[in-house]
C-alpha cells in the first residue's frame, strides 16, 4: 500500500500517526484515571463513571453559554474555569452519591455494580429532562480549534496537544496526592487494612468520601476536556465506559502505573492497527489481544503484591 507515496509523505504520516497514538493514549489515561482511583482504592465498580464525565461536559457547555452571553470579552479563557467547575460539580455529586448510596455497600462490592448502573440510568434521564434529548454543541474559543503547522505536511491538532498537557498535569497531580501527601497515605492505609487504619485514628468514612469525590471530579474534568473531541448528549457517557473499564482492568486495579501502561499499550496497538486495517477490525483485534493477555494474567499488567 505504500508503493505510490513518496518518502516524505510516508515520513510525515508516520509522525502524525505517532501523534494520533499519543493523543489516544492521553484520552485513555484521562478517562481511566478517575475510575482507577475509585475501583483501585475502594473496590467500587463505578458504572456511572461515564455520566460523571458527561456532567462535566454539560457544566462546560453551560459555562460557555454564560461567557458568551455575559462576558464575551473573556470567552477565550473560559475553558479553564469550566474545567474547575466541572471538577467541583462532578466531585460534589460524587460525594453526595457516596454518602447516600455507596457507603452502605462497601461490604457488597458486586452490588455497587448494580447500584451505580442504576445511578447511570437515573443520571442519563436527568440529563435528558434538564438539557433535552438532543446533543448540545459546545463552542470553543478560536485558539483551541485547528492545528499547528509543523511542516508542509505535518499538522498537529491543537485540541490533542491540549488533552495531552492536561493528562500529564492531572496524572502528576494524582500521583503526588496519592504517594506523597498525608491524605494519600491515609487512603492507602485504608485500602490495605480498614480496621487498623481506623484504630490508629484515621477517619475512614471521610477518606472514602473524598476518594470517591476525587475520582468523580477527575471524571468531570475528563468530560470537560472531551467536549473538544466528542459529543455532548445525555447518553454520550456510554461511549467511553467500555474503553475505560478495559484500560483499568487490563492495567490491574489498584495500580496507577498499571493504568498508564495499559492505556499506552492499548492505544498504540489500536492506533497502529487502525492504520493498516479498517477501524472495526482494529478494535476487534485489540479486544482479542486484551482478552488473551487477561486469560494468561488475570490480575492485569501490574498488580499490588499482597499476601493472600
Amino acid at each position: 500500500m505504500f508503493g505510490d507515496y513518496s518518502l516524505g509523505d510516508l515520513g510525515s504520516i508516520f509522525v502524525m500517526q505517532g501523534f494520533a497514538g499519543l493523543i489516544l493514549f492521553s484520552v485513555y489515561v484521562l478517562m481511566a484515571l478517575g475510575l482507577a482511583i475509585i475501583f483501585g482504592q475502594m473496590g467500587v465498580i463505578n458504572m456511572a463513571h461515564g455520566e460523571f464525565m458527561i456532567l462535566g461536559a454539560y457544566v462546560t457547555w453551560m459555562t460557555s453559554n454564560f461567557f458568551q452571553t455575559y462576558l464575551p470579552s473573556l470567552f477565550s479563557g473560559y475553558f479553564f474555569l469550566a474545567m474547575i467547575l466541572a471538577f467541583v460539580a462532578s466531585g460534589a455529586l460524587g460525594m453526595l452519591v457516596e454518602w447516600v448510596l455507596i457507603r452502605h455497600l462497601y461490604k457488597r462490592p458486586l452490588d455497587t455494580l448494580l447500584a451505580t448502573w442504576g445511578l447511570s440510568l437515573i443520571l442519563q434521564q436527568a440529563f435528558r429532562s434538564v438539557f433535552g434529548a438532543r446533543e448540545v454543541g459546545v463552542d470553543l474559543p478560536q485558539w483551541m480549534l485547528g492545528s499547528l503547522h509543523v511542516s508542509e505536511s505535518i499538522e498537529v491538532p491543537i485540541n490533542g496537544v491540549f488533552v495531552m498537557c492536561l493528562t500529564v498535569l492531572i496524572t502528576v497531580g494524582v500521583a503526588y496526592v496519592m504517594y506523597k501527601s498525608r491524605w494519600g497515605r491515609q487512603v492507602r492505609a485504608v485500602v490495605q487494612n480498614r480496621i487498623m487504619a481506623g484504630a490508629v485514628g484515621i477517619n475512614t468514612e471521610k477518606v472514602d468520601r473524598y476518594t470517591y469525590g476525587l475520582g468523580c471530579g477527575i471524571a468531570g474534568v475528563a468530560g470537560s476536556a472531551f467536549t473538544m473531541i466528542g459529543s455532548t448528549g445525555p447518553t454520550s457517557g456510554q461511549l467511553y465506559i467500555v474503553d475505560t473499564f478495559l484500560v483499568v482492568v487490563f492495567g490491574g486495579a489498584a495500580s496507577l502505573l498499571g493504568t498508564i501502561a495499559s492505556a499506552f499499550s492499548i492505544s498504540q496497538t489500536q492506533s497502529t492497527l487502525e492504520f493498516f486495517m479498517s477501524g472495526s477490525m482494529a478494535k476487534v483485534l485489540t479486544l482479542l489481544a486484551v482478552v488473551g493477555i487477561l486469560m494468561l494474567r488475570p490480575q492485569g499488567l501490574f498488580a499490588l503484591k499482597v499476601r493472600k
Binding site: 507515496y5 509523505d9 504520516i13 502524525m16 500517526q17 501523534f19 494520533a20 493523543i23 489516544l24 484520552v27 434521564q125 435528558r128 433535552g132 434529548a133 438532543r134 446533543e135 448540545v136 454543541g137 459546545v138 463552542d139 480549534l145 485547528g146 492545528s147 503547522h149 505536511s153 499538522e155 491538532p157 491543537i158 485540541n159 490533542g160 472531551f226 473538544m228 473531541i229 466528542g230 459529543s231 455532548t232 448528549g233 445525555p234 447518553t235 454520550s236 456510554q238 461511549l239 467511553y240 492506533s271 487502525e274 492504520f275 479498517s278 477501524g279 472495526s280 482494529a282 478494535k283
Partner: protein, 428 residues
C-alpha cells in the same frame, strides 16, 4: 418527556394482552353484535358511518380515530427520534384543526421504543392488538424497523417510516416516507463528479447495515458509472470517538471527495477531529448523507461549515409550503428547534395517511395499502411528493452546503422527482 400521558394510561390495559387472540376475537365479535343495530343512527351527514369506513375492528369511533406514535423517547436514539415525534404531533394537530380524517379527530397513543429493538416489536404489537390503532407513525433506525416489520405484517397494521434508509425492502404494510439509498446517493454523486470533476473518493462510515449498503451502492456507481476510483473504505464501530487514524489515511490518499455516513455521537467526534487535523472543508470536498440540521446542533456549525449534504429536505428550502411549515414547527416546539430531513419526512406520515384514507374512503388497512400508490401531497414542506407503486415516495434529491450558523444553503436540486428504486439492478 411531558406528553407521555396516553402511554401511561394504556398500561392498565396491558393485562388484557394475556387473553388469547382467539378469545379476544370472539369477545369482540359478541360485543360488536348489539352495536350493529345502533350504527345507522350514529351516522352523521358529513362523516361516513363507522361501519362503512372500518370493517376490521380498528379503534375508530364516530368522532375519533386512534393512531400510534412509536419512537424512542429515551435511550441513545432519543437524540434523533425526538424531532420525528415532534413533527408527527404537529401534523396530527394541524389535521385535527382542519377537521380531522373522514370527519374524525385523530387521537394518538405514544409508545416509547426506548432505543431497544425488541421493545419496538413489543410496543408495535401492543398498539396493533390492544389499542387497535389505525396506523403507526414510527421507527427510526433500520434495526427497529426490521424488528417491527414482522409484527405489522402479521397483525396487518400500517407503518409510516420516516428515515432515509438502505432500501432492499418493500412491504404492503409500510409506507417509506424517507428516501431509499439510490434516491439519496446517486444524484449527489453525479453532481459532485460533474461540479468538482471528482475522480477519487474516500468512504468513511459507521459499521452497520445502512452505511455498508449505501457505500456498496455508492462504490458501484463511482466505479461503473462515473468511472472514478474508491481509494479507501473505512468503517468504525457505532459510538467510536477517535478518528485520527482514518483522518491520516485521508491525508495520505488525498481523495477528491470524502464521502461519509458516520452516525450518532461519532459524527461529532469525526468533524471536530477533521477540523482539528487541519482539513479545511472549504477546500476539501466532503459529501455526507448522514448529517442533517439536527446533527449540526451537536457538531457545531464552525466544525462542518463547507461540507455538502445530500438528502431531500433542508430547513432553509425556499418554497411556500416550507415557509408555513417552519414557523408552525417552531411555534409548537420552540424557536431554537431545528428541522432536519427525517423530521420533515416524519411530518409527511400523518398527512399521507390522511390523504390515503380519504382516497380509499376507509380506514381498513387493506384498502389503504391498495389506495396508497398515486397519492400525492402537494403541501409537503419539501415541495411535492407522490407515493410510488412500491410504497416509497417520488421526491427530489438536493445538495446543500453547511453554513456557520448550522443551516444548509441549497446548491443543487434534481430537475424532476427521482423514482424510488429499493431493489436497484446492477447495484447489489
Amino acid at each position: 418527556m411531558s406528553s407521555n400521558k396516553s402511554g401511561v394510561l394504556m398500561s392498565d390495559e396491558e393485562t388484557k394482552g394475556l387473553l388469547s387472540p382467539l378469545r379476544r376475537k370472539l369477545l369482540m365479535g359478541m360485543a360488536a353484535l348489539p352495536a350493529i343495530t345502533m350504527l345507522p343512527r350514529a351516522s352523521f351527514a358529513q362523516a361516513p358511518a363507522t361501519s362503512a369506513v372500518n370493517t376490521t375492528g380498528l379503534a375508530v369511533t364516530d368522532t375519533e380515530v386512534t393512531v400510534g406514535i412509536l419512537h424512542s423517547a429515551t435511550g441513545t436514539m432519543a437524540i434523533s427520534e425526538t424531532g420525528s415525534i415532534e413533527a408527527e404531533k404537529l401534523a396530527i394537530e394541524q389535521i385535527n384543526a382542519m377537521g380531522g380524517v373522514l370527519g374524525r379527530k385523530i387521537k394518538f397513543i405514544q409508545e416509547d421504543g426506548a432505543s431497544d429493538w425488541p421493545t419496538f416489536a413489543e410496543k408495535a404489537k401492543k398498539l396493533l392488538v390492544n389499542d387497535k390503532v389505525a396506523a403507526i407513525m414510527g421507527c427510526w433506525t433500520s434495526a427497529s424497523r426490521k424488528a417491527v416489520l414482522p409484527v405489522v405484517e402479521q397483525y396487518n397494521g400500517m407503518l409510516y417510516y420516516p428515515t432515509f434508509y438502505e432500501g432492499l425492502e418493500q412491504s404492503k404494510n409500510v409506507i417509506y416516507t424517507g428516501q431509499e439509498a439510490t434516491q439519496q446517493i446517486l444524484a449527489g454523486l453525479n453532481w459532485i463528479a460533474k461540479e468538482k470533476g471528482a475522480k477519487s473518493f474516500f468512504f468513511v462510515g459507521s459499521d452497520y447495515i445502512w452505511p455498508r449498503t449505501s457505500n456498496k451502492i455508492a462504490r458501484k456507481h463511482v466505479e461503473n458509472v462515473l468511472k472514478g476510483k474508491v481509494v479507501g473504505e473505512e468503517y468504525y464501530p457505532l459510538g467510536n470517538t477517535q478518528f485520527n487514524s482514518v483522518i491520516n489515511k485521508i491525508k495520505l490518499t488525498k481523495p477528491d471527495v470524502i464521502f461519509t455516513d458516520v452516525v450518532g455521537g461519532s459524527n461529532v467526534a469525526f468533524y471536530k477531529q477533521l477540523k482539528a487535523a487541519g482539513i479545511d472543508l472549504s477546500k476539501q470536498a466532503l459529501l455526507t448523507i448522514s448529517v442533517t440540521e439536527d446533527e449540526i446542533d451537536g457538531i457545531g456549525g464552525e466544525n462542518i461549515a463547507g461540507a455538502y449534504a445530500c438528502m431531500k429536505y433542508f430547513q432553509s428550502l425556499d418554497n411556500p409550503n416550507n415557509k408555513t411549515f417552519v414557523p408552525a414547527f417552531k411555534k409548537m416546539w420552540g424557536e431554537k428547534t431545528v428541522i432536519g430531513d427525517v423530521t420533515q419526512a416524519a411530518y409527511l406520515g400523518p398527512w399521507l395517511w390522511k390523504l390515503t384514507v380519504e382516497k380509499a374512503g376507509s380506514f381498513d388497512v387493506d384498502k389503504i395499502a391498495a389506495a396508497s400508490p398515486g397519492v400525492e401531497f402537494k403541501g409537503a414542506p419539501e415541495g411535492y411528493v407522490r407515493i410510488h407503486e412500491n410504497h416509497h415516495l417520488w421526491s427530489k434529491t438536493r445538495v446543500g452546503r453547511a453554513k456557520l450558523d448550522g443551516q444548509f444553503e441549497l446548491i443543487y436540486e434534481t430537475a424532476d422527482l427521482v423514482e424510488p428504486d429499493p431493489f436497484p439492478k446492477g447495484y447489489q
